[in-house]
């Protein structure tokens, strides 16, 4: 969908940099979990979107529900990259950091580059709070911030004053600080205040609270206009992004999957039953779908992950599309049941919002380390198709594609997303559902006759008959079954035939998916081949490298099992293949296994996304300069 970007407009914007010479900015809000940082970030995101900017965000919150105030591990942050050009990554280094307390400052300092603007709430740098952040000295008072532009504002006091008229005491007023700072940032980047005003008015039933928050927002905004610090605190309006003609909204990955399921169910004219057990970062998909029965999706919160997938399989047996969703450890628990869905030849969507492992690992941190599990992680020869989403908006289309495959081939499908995509937002051109082809299934029609184990020769999908239908009363199970009758069979040749059929079925998916394309760049030199949420960062890194004259191209996979049919041939046209992954090399394994191709690896397992810089360095290492083509 990001193809909707308007190339002409893009060109037109070139050279129309804002006054400061930049088309886009990276802003990072940071403070205590209790400071409402995520809300502030979301509001700023909405404003930038409605202001016409493209954007990408990176929420980064602590594992604790409400970590103790002022601690380093309790710092909650929200980063947004926005502006008047195509934005694919949340940005490596913030141009502006707003730090509500000492911990928020020190924790984020390593990310900044010289010249960055730091806004701090002056009042928060008390001795006690410095100690909370394990600081011996006040960084505002030594030379540690010398290379940055530091603006000390007494946000706490200014907010307090702004909200006093509404009867707010000093303590309550602290809860409006985030709106004060938001107001200032909206002024700084010349973004509209109206959406936030509307949101506040919708959200707060209590009049005093509502007015106080509005006052804080406006006060922050006014402060920008009137402050005497204009040398550093200048307005940096960004041009509108060169967007194609469409309606846009912001979307997170969790929303993308949820909306994709709603749309896919509708396109397939099939009720969807979403069965899940809460787990970070997968739960938000469940939350988005709860109580949308009238849109064709019902949810079931099961007693555990096994019950969740089993209920989904039961639903699929009964003619609805069963969907289950979890993260690594929960997916591990589902593997036995996946085998049942394969054996019974039932459609099923398994969504894995990956997080850092092994075991409980770091639930709030992102990672791409469940690819092995997705492709190889079952007992028996039990292949299933695997797809991966690359961005919040892409979740929508990839989810629809997953459903298409599940219903076409009568197979469970694993859909990989991750904690980063789940929480990040981007600007998304709202698709017109009427432009999507309907999703076909093997549901029997009035004319269907014979056994439910007839299989379409091109997809090997069997007939999806369901209880209630008098014509197909049948029994099925996880024991090996006769390839024709479905009865239990221990016959040797039959087991071979069934195993071959299951392998051929998944292989046949490749016949229906488009050839792998090159995202940018052209063959010959270095191919950067990857999957999943690294897309945006890789896009920017490759783009910059190409602009810097390197012979590099980007290939990003949606289909991981089976791989697109042309991939081997495509990679053969490159001199070097570099596989950057947020794991120890799982796609690298898959490429060696399936294509016997030698790959270079770039791996990072820190719970954090790649930075553009990291990738550019690796590209530098592997790519040659592009030679001008000489045509005879």
């Amino acid at each position: 969908m990001r193809g909707c970007f308007d190339a002409e407009a893009q060109v037109a914007n070139m050279g129309s940099e804002s006054r400061s010479g930049k088309l886009s900015y990276v802003v990072r809000f940071a403070g205590d979990s209790g400071d409402g940082i995520q809300l502030q970030g979301q509001q700023f995101t909405m404003a930038s979107a409605l202001g016409g900017n493209d954007l990408a965000t990176l929420p980064d919150f602590p594992a604790e529900i409400r970590a103790p105030a002022g601690t380093r591990y309790g710092v909650s942050a929200f980063q947004i990259h926005f502006g008047g050009e195509r934005i694919t990554s949340p940005g490596d280094t913030p141009d502006v950091l707003i730090a509500f307390n000492p911990a928020a400052l020190v924790v984020n300092l390593p990310q900044l580059e010289p010249g960055a603007l730091i806004l701090v709430d002056e009042q928060a740098f008390t001795e006690q709070r410095l100690k909370r952040a394990d600081l011996d000295r006040n960084p505002l008072e030594d030379s540690s911030l010398a290379t940055f532009e530091v603006v000390r504002i007494d946000i706490s006091r200014l907010t307090e004053e702004a909200v006093k008229p509404f009867g707010m005491g000093a303590k309550d007023s602290q809860r409006c600080k985030n709106f004060w700072a938001l107001g200032l940032m909206l002024w700084m980047f010349d973004q509209p205040r109206d959406p936030t005003v509307a949101w506040i008015e919708r959200r707060f039933a209590n009049e005093a609270l509502r007015n106080a928050n509005l006052a804080a927002l406006n006060a922050g905004h006014a402060y920008g206009e009137t402050a005497e610090l204009t040398r550093v605190l200048a307005q940096h309006p960004t041009p509108a992004a060169p967007l194609a003609r469409a309606e846009y909204r912001t979307i997170t990955g969790a929303e993308g999957v949820a909306l994709g399921l709603l749309a896919a169910g509708e396109l397939a004219d099939t009720q969807v039953m979403f069965c899940s057990y809460p787990i970070t970062p997968a739960s938000s998909i469940l939350h988005h779908l709860a109580d949308l029965e009238d849109a064709g999706v019902s949810t079931f919160q099961a007693e555990d992950e096994i019950a969740a997938i089993c209920a989904a399989i039961g639903a699929s047996y009964a003619g609805r599309l069963g969907v289950t969703s979890s993260s690594g450890p929960g997916i591990a628990l589902k593997t036995e049941a996946m085998g049942l869905a394969v054996a019974a030849e039932l459609p099923l969507i398994i969504v894995n919002s990956q997080r850092a492992g092994p075991s409980t690992g770091m639930p709030t941190k992102t990672e791409q380390s469940d690819l092995y599990q997705a492709v190889y992680g079952r007992n028996g020869d039990t292949p299933i198709p695997v797809l991966a989403t690359r961005s919040p908006g892409d979740c929508f289309d990839t989810t629809i594609e997953a459903v298409r495959i599940a219903l076409r081939h009568m197979t469970p499908v694993m859909l990989l997303t991750d904690g980063y995509i789940a929480n990040a937002s981007e600007l998304w051109p709202i698709p017109d559902i009427d432009h999507y082809p309907p999703i076909a299934s093997t549901k029997p029609t009035e004319n269907t006759e014979g056994s439910v184990f007839q299989r379409d020769p091109s997809t090997l999908g069997r007939v999806w008959a369901a209880p209630g239908d008098r014509r197909f009363v049948y029994r099925v199970g996880g024991i090996e079954k006769d390839i024709e009758t479905g009865n239990i069979s221990y016959d040797a040749a039959n087991h071979q035939a069934m195993t071959d059929m299951r392998a051929a079925k998944v292989a046949s998916v490749a016949d229906f998916i488009p050839d792998q394309v090159i995202e940018q760049g052209s063959p010959g030199g270095l191919a950067v081949v990857a999957w999943g949420s690294t897309y945006g960062t890789l896009h920017q890194a490759v783009l910059e490298s190409i602009r810097a004259g390197l012979d590099v191209a980007q290939i990003h996979l949606r289909h991981l099992n089976p791989l697109p049919g042309n991939l081997g041939e495509l990679l053969g046209r490159f001199h070097t293949v570099l596989v950057p992954e947020l794991n120890t090399g799982q796609l690298a394994t898959l490429l060696r296994d399936r294509l016997l191709v030698r790959v270079a690896q770039l791996n990072k397992v820190t719970g954090q996304p790649f930075t553009v810089q990291e990738v550019r360095q690796a590209i530098q290492q592997h790519a040659r300069p592009r030679l001008k083509e000489v045509r005879p």
Binding site: E247, Y248, D294, A311, A315, Y317, P467, V473
Partner: protein
């Protein structure tokens, strides 16, 4: 639907598959009773689903000419929940064993019962893992000798009925495999119950735990070793129906009395109230020398989980999806 169905006999509910239990296994009689119950209920095969786990008992769905799903070990209640939620109009049966339902599957059974999902759950309890060749199960009595407990098991067993009470079950019954008269009736009581119905069936595994229930089910003594409870009727038993159960309010326990002895009259005998959960506990835990309770031990009305799901309105669906796609603030650049 109607005509074809009305004419079905109990044989029509058998499939063409050869039944593969050991000769003499109690599962045969249970299967027969299931066929009988379906015929008695004029059940529509197309709207009936049997879901099972893994075990000898769990093979039963292959032999019932309805929809059937032989799934994985212990998970039948979860899968059946999915089936029922997906299509509340179906009559969904769960077939499980003491191992399948109370060992690996204990959690799903707990939650199906406490949610009161409208399922008919039959637990074929032979106090042993049959299919895996006779290891002791969670219902095996202490001291059961088996390949995995050659000198006798140490674990205190689960009592299926008491477990169901703990789960808040709204229907609890018990029956004997060979009771071809009573069992189909109880199965249909379970079928008619709105909510999760739990039926424990004492089943004889003649290969690995032969006659373990003999002290209770042996025909000769059955009149004295079993009490068939009926709602609203006094708790009497014995060949001469001269024995009964009385509540000792001091010990809060049931005791056996004989009518006419020590001045005991029918008025002393407790009347069965199937809606009372405390009486359910008293009855479900009865053991020799007291008679073991058979029949519908507990039944009470409570909202069934599956009824609460909202019906989908198809006409507005695409519009609704479109509306959801447009949720939130829109930047209109058309």
């Amino acid at each position: 639907m109607s005509e074809a169905v009305r004419e079905l006999t109990f044989k029509d509910y058998a499939t063409d598959q050869e039944v593969r239990w050991c000769p003499g296994c109690g599962d045969y009689s249970i299967l027969k009773a299931v066929h009988r119950a379906l015929a008695d209920a004029k059940a529509d095969p197309a709207n009936t689903v049997f879901v099972s786990g893994i075990g000898c008992s769990s093979r039963l769905p292959y032999y019932v000419e309805t929809y059937g799903f032989h799934t994985i070990h212990g998970r039948a209640p979860a899968i059946a929940t999915g089936v029922k939620l997906a299509n509340p109009a179906l009559d969904v049966w769960v077939i499980t064993g003491d191992g399948d339902g109370l060992s690996i599957g204990g959690n799903h059974l707990l939650h199906a019962l406490r949610r009161n999902v409208n399922l008919n759950i039959l637990m074929l309890n032979n106090e042993i893992y049959g299919l895996t060749k006779g290891q002791y199960s969670p219902t095996s009595r202490i001291g059961t000798e088996s390949p995995s407990s050659p000198h006798g098991s140490l674990d205190t067993p689960v009592q299926p009925g008491l477990f169901a009470i703990g789960a808040g079950a709204t229907f609890i019954a018990r029956a004997v495999d060979i009771d071809q008269k009573g069992l189909p009736v109880i199965l249909n009581e379970a079928r008619n119950h709105v909510g999760a119905a739990f039926v424990e069936i004492l089943q004889n595994c003649i290969v690995y735990n032969a006659d373990v229930f003999d002290d209770v089910v042996a025909k000769k003594t059955a009149a004295d070793t079993q009490i068939h409870v009926v709602h609203g009727e006094p708790l009497v038993y014995g060949k001469a129906r001269d024995k009964g159960l009385r509540l000792n309010p001091r010990t809060l326990a049931l005791e056996a009395v004989t009518l006419g002895v020590d001045g005991v009259t029918e008025a002393d005998i407790l009347v069965h109230d199937e809606t009372n959960p405390v009486l359910a506990q008293l009855l479900v835990t009865l053991r020799a020398p007291l008679p073991v309770a058979m029949g519908v031990i507990h039944r009470r009305q409570a909202p069934a989980f599956d009824q609460s799901f909202v019906e989908h309105k198809p006409a507005v669906r695409r519009q609704r999806v479109r509306q959801l796609l447009h949720k939130g603030n829109i930047l209109d650049r058309r």
